[in-house]
Amino acid sequence: MPTRPNPFRLALTHLILLACAGLTVMPVVLVLAASLRKGSTLISTRLFPGMDELSLAKYHELLTQTPFLTWMLNTVIVSVVASLIALVVTALAGYAFARFRFLGRKNGLMAMMLLQMFPAAMAMVAVFRLLQYLGAATGGVLGLNSLLGLSLVYIGAGIPFNTWMIKGYVDALPRELEESATIDGATPTQTFLLVVLPLMGPILAVVAIFNFIAPYSDFIFPSVVMFEESKYTLAVGMQSFISGNFSTNWTLFAAASILGAIPILVLFFALQRFLVEGLTRGALKG
């Protein structure tokens, strides 16, 4: 991290970044190209389709003949709820593991990690029954066929990993500020809320992104626990385009993938600021 830019190194950096960007974007461009084709197959044996083969028909079909917008809204609801609750829950837990000393701390960390390694062979059945009971107990608010219930499932799955990441981040934060706050008479909770939390921006942004994206790629859980098409998430709705016993509509799926990626990119843009915050903070201090 040189303070003065070295033009040669800068050019090299751009060269590398561009090459990686090219490789990264290649399949995505193909998804985009597929979404503009008229047929329904995924792969073209021609690298570049002719202009006459392109059309926005699949986007039109998606927006007018499928509940795409409903699915999208559901996904965003599940993602936002999952991210918010996960942030609160894992920020507290991660901080506790990083800064407090208590009985069962080390074992607790280990147990969390272990829990996450268990392949969920039959978890589906158990989670289904669990949501059934939860639904009965909460009047349907948290149970089957509830977006909130689905959010819970995703939060549960991500807790160990997110907690670990936050703990690791807080571990690396200098303790001086907290120590002086304590000397000034702040309670531990005040220290956490007023001193540490504001410094946790970058890692919280990372955790928010993780939790936001998880519901996008999973079609198995929601397809089993939801009982109305208007409760489906995007992944489930899209899955039905391509799993129709060989009658697959890949191009429609491609169009949905492209539009479906927009909220993720928007969120990423919104959180960019937090991801680069530390740098500016350091610079200001210097």
Binding site: V81, L144, F246
Partner: protein, 402 residues
């Protein structure tokens, strides 16, 4: 910040309103994994509701998740009254004890094509009312190959000549490692997947290790190794694309491709399989989509009425036209003759072999696919590989049925 909080409050408000709806508690519930047919099924069901006053609640589930969802939800009393699916689900769902045999009064009648009723019968009981069927046929680009080949060797010879004349073309292309597409050649040599004895399927009567199946496997190998028609990496998806781009003369595919084939603007014909070198007639596997009745159905009487309505000539003709899959009733078949492609598929399906409904068939696909790959890539001789595969499949079925 305030705007953010407002947004969050709004999201939560939307969420708390989303408990399970109880409004349609007395509706007949129907689940299906069909996609292309779904809008038409919706229309047919709406018509039924209007005519009978019986409420119906439909749910479209991704096809590949539907069987699993039913298996989880049904024992928890959350399953639908009716579920539409292919006959290879019949054996699985019935063995798990979640299906009720179709009652006498709703049984498919005389006008159902025999192969369709045979397909949905499991251990002597009918578990599904057939709606329509599907199977493979040859899609031929009539510009590249104007004459219909009279035999498989002739097809191969012309395909090879075509490819030699123009290497950018494909003469005869399909996923020959996929048992579903390869099966017609096995059936032509007298091979079988599972056979019935006294009206019941014997899960250990497997016919993939016979001199005939070795011949069929050798033929597939020759397509790859000698005629160089189908290199490794061939897939159903690529075959469809090549055909639609006008670059493949003949491919093997099913009625679900008809819509795309028409839209692609390539002149084509649907041909039945011609006989093989040994004179055997290739018979593709026939899948039959039908309606099954949940053993714990709560609105049984109304569900049976809906079943009858969906399986009617009127309804199946409408659904069939949407998807290209031919209907199974003679009366309905008579009315789709105006579409020569669907009619051809119907004719081929009637002479095809039904895909076994017994759950044991699930133990066959993966090993057979590996075997086809090893044989056609020349890694393993056909006779030895098929014998080993047969043995492996038997062990798996033993385990499955315990």
């Amino acid at each position: 910040m305030r705007r953010l909080l407002l947004l969050i409050a709004l999201l939560f408000a939307t969420c708390f309103g989303c408990g399970p709806t109880t409004g349609q508690a007395d509706a007949v519930r129907l689940w299906t994994g069909l996609d292309a047919e779904y809008p038409v099924i919706e229309r047919v069901v709406a018509d039924f509701q209007q005519r009978t006053g019986i409420q119906v609640q439909m749910l479209k589930v991704p096809f590949e998740q539907l069987r699993n969802k039913f298996l989880i939800a049904a024992p928890a009393d959350l399953g639908p009254d009716l579920v539409i699916g292919p006959q290879d689900w019949v054996g699985v769902l019935a063995t798990a004890g979640q299906l009720e045999p179709i009652p006498q009064e709703a049984l498919p009648g005389e006008d159902f094509v025999p192969v369709s009723v045979q397909a949905v019968t499991f251990q002597g009981q009918v578990y599904s009312v057939p709606l329509f069927m599907e199977c493979n046929a040859l899609f031929r680009n009539t510009r590249l190959m104007p004459e219909r080949p009279r035999s498989i060797p002739e097809l191969v010879a012309r395909a090879t000549a075509l490819q030699q004349a123009d290497p950018t073309l494909k003469g005869f292309y399909f996923d020959l490692q996929e048992p579903y597409f390869a099966w017609p050649f096995f059936s032509a040599e007298g091979a079988w997947l599972l056979r019935d004895k006294d009206g019941r399927t014997d899960p250990f009567d497997i016919g993939i290790d016979t001199p005939g199946s070795v011949r069929a496997a050798e033929f597939l190998r020759s397509l790859r190794q000698e005629s160089h028609l189908i290199p490794p990496g061939a897939s159903e998806n690529i075959s469809r694309t090549l055909f639609q781009e006008g670059r493949a003369a003949v491919i093997i595919n099913g009625p679900w491709m008809l819509k795309d084939a028409k839209a692609a603007g390539v002149p084509y014909a649907v041909d039945p399989f011609p006989p093989t070198a040994s004179g055997g007639q290739p018979r593709p596997l026939v899948g039959v989509q039908g309606i099954m009745l949940n053993r714990r159905a709560t609105r049984r009487a109304e569900a049976l009425k809906l079943m009858e309505h969906l399986a009617s000539v009127e309804s199946t003709v409408a659904i069939s036209q949407a998807s290209g899959r031919p209907p199974v009733r003679r009366g309905a078949l008579a009315r789709i003759q105006s579409d020569p492609d669907i009619a051809t598929f119907a004719m081929i399906a009637e002479q095809g072999t039904p895909m076994p409904s017994h759950p044991a068939v699930n133990a066959i696909w993966v090993p057979l696919k590996s075997a086809l790959e090893l044989i056609t890539t020349g890694k393993s001789p056909a006779d030895r590989e098929l014998r080993a595969t047969d043995e492996r499949i038997r062990q798996k079925i033993q385990l499955m049925l315990e």
